[in-house]
Symmetry: C2
Subunit: 254 residues, 2 copies
Amino acid sequence: MLEHSVQTPPIAQQSPLAVGDARASAAGSVAAGSSLAVSTVIFALRPDDESGLKTLWLPLVRRTRDPHRDLWALPGGWLPADEELAAAAARTLRETTELSPRYLEQLYTFGDIDRSPGLRVVSVVYWALVRSEVAERASVGENVRWFAADQLPPLAFDHNRIVEYALWRLRTKVEYARIAHAFLGDTFTLAQLREVHEAVLQKALDPANFRRSMESSGTLISTDQHVAGARHRPARLYRYDGRASEHDPPGPTL
Amino acid sequence: MLEHSVQTPPIAQQSPLAVGDARASAAGSVAAGSSLAVSTVIFALRPDDESGLKTLWLPLVRRTRDPHRDLWALPGGWLPADEELAAAAARTLRETTELSPRYLEQLYTFGDIDRSPGLRVVSVVYWALVRSEVAERASVGENVRWFAADQLPPLAFDHNRIVEYALWRLRTKVEYARIAHAFLGDTFTLAQLREVHEAVLQKALDPANFRRSMESSGTLISTDQHVAGARHRPARLYRYDGRASEHDPPGPTL
DNA sequence: CCATCATATAGTCAAACTGACTCAAACACC
DNA sequence: GGTGTTTGAGTCAGTTTGACTATATGATGG
């Protein structure tokens, strides 16, 4: 287990801003003068209209004021002084989708001077995963809409870049971390779990090899339940082993 | 190259604040009211006084005002409205150590409500690597001192936690990313590079296997120079292949 | 000049891991 | 009861990895 191997993580860059439905907007001046916002990239799996295969989708909100009025943007808002960062991310998620995140993690802090016209805004961006079935019936309104993650229109600020980075992170992380189950219910079949991996990685995986690697990962608990109904051998239901990963560092997840 | 394998990256948590020698300190109120600071965890390799082996060291600054007056803290300060985040990190690094970073990357943004008494402060924290030889003659004054990374005193705010997280990140990243050379000069022997890895990972590595893995990584360019003088076979000098990693996502490094 | 020392560098070997693939099991459906 | 489809077990070869052996080469000291 030495040095170099496969992938090299990212080193993103500052950039956008995030104000879905920001509230107060007076350009207050801090110690040295910057505004702090929190935004969230929310991923869910949905069947593509055409292929029927599941793909990644995310909700965006329409901006109702300048700058970038009428453009779509990531859900977010100014950080209240009395709210934790992750809590603010979870709240904006809930406000736009009426969902609770199954997984929520800080992505990156974007702070380029020029990413927002006029006011300097620093955005702490989180990324979240929500369950597919729940996302199906998630609220959609005039100013909230779900988009296929790889077919986004030009977004406000540099939110396109943020989503790109979040996608990169999701795709690289799903290969070594146990996060795929965040798209599923408490119990699931290996086929369902594999479907998640295939949707995220955008490539087919060998069922037998996938099974082998998941079983050897030690993160699955097999139940004695099976799903019947399909015209083939019933699949066993599994549950995720919630015990903390031995490799995590400092903090918890949420 | 499927799913689960070795390590699971972190999910740090909010926490500290960072004001080495902060400047203005009026508790200005932003859009919703938080102060934004930038801090940097600066790593260098230094020979341990006793063992002579190289270990990780980092510079801290003594706080000259409340809160936590006289405690040691990470270099940092308030974010000027007209300065990029990474630039602010590099500047505080330069101001405290008179060095330029060979490697600089955003670590995490800490923003727990209670991590600073009184004022809510959100700190964007960077981590940096500097060359060992240069760090040797780095400035040290009454209010700046280098500490062994694994023997820190209680620091201001939750800077202890930040350093722990930065250490975790350095140790996991050195195994898959090409960052070890940031501790070295432009050319180096494989023994020197291995020494860096050993110091960071705190374990001995097999010279032959290390060589094999580095050579197969494709990131080393062998020069035709050798270092003579030692009482053994001369070691070849190598240079790092600066071409961008094919696996990086969105942004550059700095 | 030669023996010795210490590390550089090359090569070997077996266990572990991976991707591709085969095959029996088991249920729905006709 | 036969057919179709996916589950779940197992095989096999190629690759990777850790442990280890062996040779190369210059400095040093007699």
